[in-house]
């Protein structure tokens, strides 16, 4: 801590010296002054040693934070928030769990590295070698538990969530017994990556997922999940919504030159009826995909089918609009693909919460169509003024937007890993009620379906 203070003082001196030259630095702060939350010394949390972490430099009328601890970022503006650097703004401690929770599962089925739920594995790998990782749990702001709950795959490759609640429970029991940090806050400064269909509800069927609700033990923790729907049981307040994993190298390999003219108006490839599970239609996608098919299968402007072409990625780059309707769950990798390939996403999913909604202005990039308006989709899309369409395409061409949707290996600045860390940094500092008084207990360890209580 001493070194940090000294460093800060040096920086202060440097700033004073370069005052004339570095006018840019002050301008940046004045910008922050308008948008950021002003903090008083009294409200800063005290760390365990009685030290006050950030200290202040007063220069004229602007308050400038030299130290790290996260200024509340401005909401909505795409450019600067996406490029925030989380390094120095938070510290994450990674629990060392026995390999049966992570490595052994991955060894049993390496397909987990390429399917759309692979974010949990790559997040673990990223954190292990990231500068935000700390080996000293006392100074950590967030705690990460590397448990791969979505890696129990059927022969087809779909994850079975039946054992996941027990696995998660067992992991939490382990960390609560071996380290004191879980019991200190009952998980309020812990975060978990749950990329499955309905997040921590751990079921693929929506009715069952709603019935189960979020795993009781996770109710105070922050969940990083792909699922997001407003007013839904399986979306907790304060969760961070992330995009599903899409393989970055595969997509890079299929890029075509940007001067190839976009000649397809609307493009979609995927199922309209899930014949195996819902042959009558009406359940799958709440009937929206079936409606798209029935209304537009003969429309020459709509290039939609269930085929699996080899040039899927190339075709997306030659389309103006790409449909991203809901399936069994409202999210889909199509959104990521549309953003990467510059095709305007047409999101047909009522009340969906899109990834990094506080950093990416989805309203300005994509088109949102209510499920009841699907029969009028062609009128809606053709009535968008050309100026607006060109603007959306220009915004989509922004490389920081594309980078924020990807999980590249090794990690690059501005990618989804960093957006997750930014999201976590924005939630700092933890509220007073996060830390429990000694003896206080909120979680009920026996709550939940009986099947969950069996050890894993």
């Amino acid at each position: 801590m001493e070194e940090k203070k000294k460093e800060g003082k040096e920086e202060e001196r440097k700033v004073k010296d370069d005052e004339k030259g570095k006018k840019k630095y002050w301008k940046k702060d004045e910008k922050k002054k308008g948008k950021g939350k002003k903090r008083s010394l009294a409200r800063m949390p005290q760390l365990k040693g009685g030290e006050l972490m950030p200290y202040w430099l007063r220069k004229g009328r602007s308050w400038v934070v030299i130290q790290d601890k996260g200024i509340k970022a401005p909401s909505g503006s795409a450019g600067d928030v996406l490029e925030d650097d989380p390094v120095g703004r938070l510290k994450v401690f990674v629990y060392e769990l026995p390999s049966k929770y992570n490595r052994k599962i991955l060894q049993k089925d390496p397909r987990c590295l390429t399917h759309m739920f692979a974010a949990e594995i790559f997040m673990h790998r990223f954190l292990l070698s990231s500068p935000v990782r700390t080996l000293n749990p006392e100074e950590a702001d967030w705690f990460y538990t590397p448990v791969y709950t979505t890696c129990d795959l059927t022969p087809n490759g779909l994850p079975l969530p039946f054992k996941s609640p027990r696995m998660m429970r067992s992991a939490i029991q382990l960390i609560s017994m071996n380290w004191p940090y879980w019991n200190r806050t009952e998980g309020a400064d812990h975060f978990f990556v749950v990329p499955h269909d309905f997040g921590a509800c751990f079921h693929y069927q929506e009715e069952k997922a709603i019935e189960r609700g979020i795993l009781h033990l996770l109710q105070r923790a922050t969940l990083v999940q792909t699922f997001g729907q407003r007013n839904h049981v399986c979306l907790k307040d304060g969760s961070i919504t992330i995009p599903p994993y899409a393989p970055p190298q595969k997509m890079q390999a299929h890029l075509i030159p940007p001067d190839t003219p976009r000649s397809i108006f609307v493009y979609f490839r995927g199922l309209f009826y899930d014949v195996g599970n819902d042959p009558e239609g009406g359940y799958y996608a709440r009937g929206a995909r079936a409606s798209v098919w029935e209304n537009f299968k003969n429309n020459p402007l709509f290039d939609i089918s269930t085929e699996h072409p080899a040039t899927y990625y190339e075709d997306m780059q030659r389309a103006v609009f790409c449909l991203c309707p809901l399936g069994w769950a409202p999210w889909s990798p199509r959104l990521v693909e549309a953003v990467i390939f510059g095709c305007i996403p047409v999101v047909i999913a009522d009340d969906i919460v899109l990834p990094f909604a506080d950093a990416i202005p989805w309203e300005e990039i994509g088109v949102f169509v209510a499920e009841k308006d699907v029969p009028n989709l062609d009128s809606i899309l053709t009535s968008i003024p050309t100026k607006v369409i060109l603007r959306k395409q220009r915004l989509l061409a922004n490389p920081s937007m594309k980078q924020a949707m990807l999980f590249p290996q090794p990690a690059q600045p501005g990618d989804a890993f960093h957006q997750i860390l930014n999201g976590l940094a924005r939630k700092l500092p933890h509220a007073e009620k996060a830390f429990l008084k000694p003896g206080e207990k909120i979680l009920n360890w026996t709550r939940g379906p009986v099947g969950d209580l069996k050890p894993w």
């Binding site: 729907q229 001067d259 003219p261 000649s263 009937g287 080899a310 053709t382």
Partner: protein
């Protein structure tokens, strides 16, 4: 995403309304058991929707103007299951039947309900023509913006050289080319060299266009044999190049034969040429016998797999020109046509003129920075030598630039289709018959022909189609 289910859980909310809860659950349990037994006996899944239909046939038919129920039976190949899909078309109605909502206590319920929803189909599911035009306008604007952003910054004018002569299909081919050129977004000059002198027919077609054209006569008449015709066309093109040289026209010279099919991307790509470039040409050697050709979608990746010959530059892995892909005429040796209008395959030369583009400054006597590996145009053809392809204009072939992703993109398609020499277009008619030609190339060519043409008399239509096949 979730797709694995052990047994589908239907919430048959429709029938449960108005019954006592315990009675209803008993009833449905019995029904479920009955269905399971039936399935066991029959050996395939017995859809409970049959009961729904049986019990509610009266309600369905009385409320006919509101609901339109269509049942479709689908048979899956793995198990012989007959499932009946019931699609309810609901014009602007909320979803029904009311789905079973699981209300979890003490939690805010989503406004979006889980359960069976209706599939909304509007009563007139066909596109509105105004909206279609609007969509095409949007696409056009998007492409224009793309060209502005990513295309060539200072586009040069094009000089299109076309040899032609009066024949039955001249109007067909020339109008097709005309419309392709009308779509080109750059300034262009169209040099039409006509064998047999300037004729009224050709002049009439050219006058209908709004293009900037130059109609040049060529005194000799077009021969009736294909081999001679190819040679004469080369001489006509050379004549046009001489005209370019005399008039000091500036731009990029493109050889567009009237029966070829050009992709719009071709005209964007040729803007990148510095001095001389080569593109890949797909050869549609028309078989003459109407064999049913399978419906092929020509994508660049499938080129290797399909037997469509491509002529063009061949590159090594670092993108440099190392040679040429030429046309292999061995498979067609017996069946090739000798006379124009014969019902047999017309073969191209080894390398077609259409695949080459030049900077017009190469043809001028004096030009700034003109390279020394090109022969002076006056020296070419002076002693009556035959020009096979534009490479004869060069001293050194290796300076030709490969275009179109080093020849991987086929940007134009070569085709020769001619009617029998004694056939005639319908006299006095200004129309084009819409022929179903076996061109599997650009569909917009056929579209533009059909759009601007009037369907001719069925007699002539059938006569012409017989002559083709």
């Amino acid at each position: 995403m979730a797709a694995y289910r052990s047994s589908p859980a239907l919430s048959d909310g429709g029938g449960a309304d108005g019954m006592g809860k315990s009675q209803a659950s008993c009833f449905w349990l019995l029904l479920h058991g009955l269905c399971c037994l039936i399935s066991l006996v029959l050996g395939f899944r017995f859809s409970r929707l049959v009961f729904f239909l049986l019990f509610s046939t009266t309600t369905l038919y009385t409320s006919a103007p509101v609901l339109r129920a269509t049942t479709t039976t689908t048979t899956t190949t793995t198990t012989t299951t007959r499932t009946e899909t019931l699609t309810l078309s609901l014009p602007n109605h909320p979803p029904l039947p009311p789905p079973a909502v699981h209300s979890v206590p003490n939690r805010t319920r989503s406004r979006v309900v889980v359960g069976r929803h209706g599939i909304r189909i509007r009563p007139w599911p066909h596109p509105n023509p105004t909206e279609v035009m609007r969509a095409h306008h949007i696409i056009d604007q998007v492409q224009r913006e793309q060209r502005l952003q990513y295309g060539v910054k200072a586009p040069r004018p094009l000089i299109v050289v076309t040899p032609t002569y009066v024949r039955t299909f001249q109007a067909l081919h020339l109008t097709g080319l005309l419309h392709s050129l009308l779509l080109v977004p750059y300034r262009l000059t169209w040099i039409v060299v006509e064998a047999g002198g300037v004729t009224n027919e050709t002049a009439a077609i050219l006058a209908r266009s709004q293009l900037n054209f130059l109609h040049i006569p060529f005194p000799e008449k077009m021969p009736t044999q294909w081999a001679e015709r190819h040679k004469m066309e080369a001489r006509m093109r050379l004549h046009a190049l001489r005209a370019v040289r005399e008039r000091l026209l500036d731009g990029i010279v493109v050889f567009a034969d009237d029966s070829n099919i050009h992709s719009m991307e071709f005209f964007d790509e040729v803007q990148k040429v510095k001095w001389m470039g080569a593109v890949s040409v797909g050869i549609l050697a028309h078989s003459g016998n109407s064999e049913p050709t399978p419906d092929r979608q020509f994508r660049e990746e499938d080129k290797e797999n399909f037997p469509v010959p491509i002529q063009g530059p061949a590159c090594n892995s670092s993108g440099q020109l190392v040679g040429w892909h030429t046309f292999n005429s061995l498979p067609y040796r017996e069946k090739s046509a000798t006379f124009v209008g014969e019902a047999a395959t017309v073969l191209p030369r080894k390398l077609e003129w259409a695949g080459f583009v030049l900077n017009s400054k190469l043809l001028w006597k004096e030009a700034d920075k003109k390279p020394n590996w090109v022969r002076d145009l006056d020296a070419v053809g002076k002693y009556g030598e035959e020009l096979e392809d534009p490479l004869a204009l060069l001293k050194d072939e290796s300076f030709v630039e490969p275009l179109g992703n080093c020849g991987k993109k086929a940007l134009l398609w070569w085709l020769r289709v001619e009617a029998r020499s004694d056939s005639k277009f319908p006299p006095g008619s200004n129309s084009l018959t819409y022929l179903i030609v076996e061109i599997t190339g650009r569909l917009d060519l056929i579209f533009t022909i059909a759009y601007f043409g009037i369907l001719g008399d069925p007699f002539y239509l059938s006569e012409l189609s017989i002559k083709l096949s």
